[in-house]
């Protein structure tokens, strides 16, 4: 079975989700639950660090799409960081770079929220 993990980290008012492994239709609910939890805790400034992510399918992309509007309505954002070239190509195919901010370093994505 594909492994997938979400680790949650607080950086001031920014929440960082470090996701790793394989994000597909089977593991997408785990990621969805992690984001749901953040929103329930009124945490809308979110960075998803994709450094350990080896694979993503449209089910995983769908999770990002499912939360972005609500998060932005609450003056927050979901920013993405440290995505591998391989995984970025999938985001790119579906036009994500024009709708989401991608950062090379997680720290820069976190800092961006305080600007």
């Amino acid at each position: 079975m594909a492994n997938f993990d979400v680790a949650h980290e607080e950086k001031g008012e920014v929440s960082v989700l470090n996701i790793s492994g394989y994000l597909d239709a089977h593991t997408a609910p785990d990621f969805e639950n992690a984001l749901t939890k953040l929103l329930q805790d009124n945490r809308f400034k979110i960075v998803v660090n994709l450094q350990g992510l080896q694979y993503i399918s449209s089910a995983g992309l769908g999770v990002f799409m499912g939360f972005i509007e609500e998060v932005r309505e609450k003056d927050g954002d979901i920013k993405l960081s440290e995505v591998s070239e391989k995984v970025f190509k999938v985001f790119d195919l579906l036009g994500f770079p024009s709708l989401y901010e991608f950062y090379d370093e997680t720290e820069k994505a976190v800092e961006k929220f305080s600007n």
Partner: protein, 152 residues
């Protein structure tokens, strides 16, 4: 030398079959089955990823749509991989409810993301990632998506 072929010379004109229960936990097994064939015959890492993704999307569609609300212990996904000199052919088949491929327009992504729709991206991806894609739909009998990728 033993008869075992340990070089990277691709095997050609072979056919491989696999049948698994239509459950999302098996997507990983399906991906590994297909990449285990595509990689040694000479597809690049990037191409192997594209093939895995196309196969994953087709299989996830079956799990989420073709067999939705059905007893998945009974429902299977059948994967056939054929290797040829110039290409790999992959057929993903099910006996679920099927769909009308003509109803699947290529989505306008801006609009799509604004509407927060989450389904339907799979077929769009399959068509983008593979060189040829063909659907044959006979609901309840056999639905299949045949996809082909050529060696560069």
């Amino acid at each position: 030398m033993s008869g075992k072929n340990t070089t990277t010379v691709p095997k050609k004109n072979d056919t491989y079959h696999m049948k698994v229960p239509a459950k999302s936990e098996n997507l990983d097994i399906i991906r590994k089955f297909v990449s285990g064939i595509a990689e040694p015959i000479g597809f690049s890492d990037e191409e192997v990823y594209q093939i895995e993704l196309a196969v994953d999307e087709a299989s996830a569609n079956i799990i989420n749509h073709a067999y939705r609300d059905m007893d998945s212990d009974e429902e299977k996904i059948q994967v056939t991989v054929k290797t040829r000199k110039d290409k790999i052919i992959i057929i993903i088949a099910d006996k679920g409810r099927g769909f009308d491929p003509a109803s699947l327009e290529t989505p306008d992504m801006d609009q799509y993301l604004k509407e927060r729709r989450q389904g339907g991206l799979g077929v769009h991806l399959i068509k983008t990632l593979m060189d040829e894609v063909d659907f044959r739909i006979k609901p309840g009998v056999r639905n299949e998506v045949k996809m082909v990728k050529y060696f560069q």
